[in-house]
């Protein structure tokens, strides 16, 4: 049985769309099979290098990312257990970002489907632009694509023309 993440209605395994609210149900499976998920590789290296005691401490301490969308006032929270993708949902091209900015006017504000991602190494966060059309700006500095940059609470990220304020707990 699959439970719809949007409306909680139950469906038989393999159901692709919830017929109550139209949500795409196969999203979770898709993300795990994404061959470009390089975040996992980073963490593995990190635990190999650090001392066993310390690394298990770092890996276990839960961190939550909070993004406040300035224009719409929406607050999005995500546990930082893996990399967090930011962009616009598009079932037709099988793009299912963790943070979907469609409802905040992402399309009009130039947010790409695969726009940026936030990764974690131990207690440090990094933001990386994924080659988006309109770019990602961190605290008024434009990021070079595919180059992770440190991220901390209070930072302001601009994806396309959409402003997000970061806080980490």
């Amino acid at each position: 049985m699959i439970k719809c993440p949007s409306c909680q209605k139950r469906h038989p395994a393999n159901t692709l769309f919830c017929d109550e609210c139209g949500a795409y149900l196969a999203a979770e499976e898709d993300k795990h099979t994404d061959p470009l998920a390089m975040g996992n590789v980073d963490w593995m290296e990190e635990t190999q290098q650090a001392s066993p005691g310390l690394s298990s401490l770092n890996a276990d301490r839960p961190l939550t990312l909070k993004l406040a969308v300035r224009d719409s006032g929406r607050i999005i929270e995500f546990p930082l257990t893996k990399e967090i993708s930011i962009g616009r949902l598009d079932a037709a091209s099988a793009t299912f970002p963790d943070v979907d900015l469609t409802v905040d006017g992402g399309l009009e504000k130039g947010v790409s489907r695969r726009h940026a991602r936030i990764t974690r190494q131990g207690m440090d966060l990094f933001i990386e632009d994924l080659g988006s059309v309109n770019g990602t700006v961190l605290n008024n500095k434009r990021l070079t694509p595919y180059s992770p940059h440190p991220l901390k609470t209070g930072d302001e990220i601009q994806v396309g023309r959409l402003m997000l304020r970061v806080s980490v707990a």
């Binding site: 038989p12 395994a13 692709l16 139209g22 469609t102 059309v133």
Partner: protein
């Protein structure tokens, strides 16, 4: 028996026709060719050929022997219709619970078949009530003139206008003197009320008189208003048209017409129903409709399904050329006509009960249709589809994007239907929320216009408890024609 003679062609049936179909075809021919009825020598000879063909094809042993000899001599028949079946998963894991599985059917004319264009017997039934005056009637006249130029010399056109009464402006005729005909069109004036049934009845009569042996018979009804009191008669007329193989397609212009009635008329007679939101678009609607009529490749397309053990069909929809729910009627699932230039695509959702590993029958499908360009009736294609069950989930297979995309569009269509149901039951807030969710999904697939309309109506619904007549039509007809090709999306 003579191997070189094509007995099937003489009776006008496909090689896959059943014994019952052969018998019916023979009876129909004999009634029109009997020597007591007919005096022409060539027709008497034809009658004898029909009898000879029937003698062979009605006897199972003789028919089998004939088929064998034909195959040996190299006279095989190319199937005219091509059917491709794609499953969402080739293998499923053995689970202790039900699982869903999707099948996509793509139906097209066989690539090697040369398509010919059939003569069209067309009747335009046009509303000329007072509300049509000015720009609307002018654009309708322009669109009509376009059709007069577009049709061939072998097509037949008739024109009926209606308000309180119906007038036959053009009795069914070939387009010999186009100039004179256009002059008659330009003389149409608007006045009076709207009595759709009057128009329909006169139009159907003209079509019957001008009908030929192989013509595609169709009526296009265009109106901008409501008819009162004759809705039932209109539906009866649609039923009768369907029995005589006449399709009725309806076009509503503006906001004030009854979309439920026009949809039902089209549904019962096997035609299409369209919403013309601006007078400027009438010509393009007429053009697209005529184009699809003359490009008909197969008619009476339908399929029957025999499901495997423990397999349930949850639902079945056509998604191309436009979305519609398919209900099983006696004779199977009806698809109507297959066009030469646009595939018919169907999506089916199955629920499969748990079972041990191995190969299991999913369904047995039989697709039947008449192919008039080849003179074949009851062309039949059979397909048996199995699905494999493995002890554990095998290599990650991705569901073919074609299926995901079709289901995505379908899910928006289903939400639209649910929204209308909510409104009928007075659940305004739920309907409004559904419309907002629909807007997001429409944005995701690049349907900006439709997304905006859905959002506007969601707001209006919250504030007033009603949809605007225009918004309602936009959403209903827009979701129905969500095309399978993705629209251009800004951004990347």
């Amino acid at each position: 028996m003579k191997v070189k003679t094509d007995y099937y062609a003489i009776l006008g049936v496909s090689r896959s026709a059943t014994a019952q179909e052969v018998k019916s075809a023979h009876r129909a021919l004999v009634q029109s060719l009997h020597p007591d009825v007919v005096q022409d020598d060539t027709e008497v000879e034809q009658f004898h050929r029909v009898q000879e063909a029937y003698e062979i094809l009605s006897d199972p042993e003789k028919r089998a022997a004939y088929d064998r000899q034909q195959a040996e001599a190299g006279f095989t028949e190319e199937p005219a219709i091509s059917l491709q079946v794609t499953l969402s998963h080739h293998s499923l894991p053995c689970l202790n619970e039900d699982q869903a599985l999707y099948a996509l059917l793509e139906i097209t004319p066989s690539p090697n078949i040369e398509t010919r264009r059939l003569p069209l017997n067309l009747c335009l039934v046009l509303d000329r009530s007072t509300s049509m005056q000015g720009l609307r009637l002018q654009r309708v006249k322009e669109a009509t003139n376009y059709i007069i130029d577009y049709l061939d010399d072998e097509d037949t056109l008739s024109l009926v206008t209606f308000s309180d009464r119906a007038e036959v402006v053009l009795p069914g005729q070939c387009l010999v003197d186009r100039v004179r005909i256009k002059a008659q069109v330009s003389a149409i004036r608007s006045s009076g009320g709207t009595e759709i049934f009057q128009g329909l009845r006169a139009g159907l009569r003209e079509l019957e008189r001008a009908r030929g042996s192989n013509t595609v018979n169709h009526l296009i009804l265009l109106t901008d208003g409501q008819t009162y009191g004759d809705e039932d008669n209109c539906l009866l007329a649609a039923d009768r048209a369907s029995r005589h193989q006449v399709g009725i397609s309806t076009m509503g212009i503006g906001q004030d017409w009854n979309d439920k009635l026009l949809d039902e008329i089209a549904l019962r007679s096997g035609g299409t129903s369209a919403y013309i939101d601006s007078a400027a678009k009438v010509t393009s609607f007429f053009r697209d409709k005529i184009h699809s009529l003359v490009n008909v490749f197969a008619r009476e397309l339908r399929y029957t399904l025999r499901l495997g053990a423990g397999v349930r069909l949850k639902d079945s929809f056509r998604v191309s050329p436009y979305i519609a729910c398919l209900q099983e009627r006696e004779g199977g699932f009806y698809l109507g006509q297959l066009n030469a230039d646009a595939p018919t695509v169907v999506v089916m959702e199955f629920i499969i009960a748990p079972r041990p590993p191995g190969s299991h029958r999913l369904f047995h499908l039989e697709l039947v249709g008449d192919v008039p360009v080849l003179g074949r009736q009851h062309e039949r294609i059979k397909r048996e589809i199995d699905v494999r069950f493995a002890p554990t989930r095998e290599l990650e297979e991705t569901v073919p994007p074609r299926i995901v995309s079709a289901l995505g569009k379908l899910s928006i269509f289903k939400m639209q239907e649910k929204t209308m149901d909510d409104l009928e039951r007075g659940q305004v807030e739920q309907a409004s929320q559904r419309l907002e969710t629909m807007a997001t999904r429409l944005l995701n697939i690049g349907e900006l216009e439709l997304a905006k309309a859905a959002l506007l109506e969601a707001g209006r619904l919250s504030r007033t408890g009603h949809l605007s007549p225009e918004g309602r039509k936009k959403i209903r007809y827009g979701t129905r024609s969500l095309s399978l090709l993705p629209k251009e999306v800004r951004g990347d």
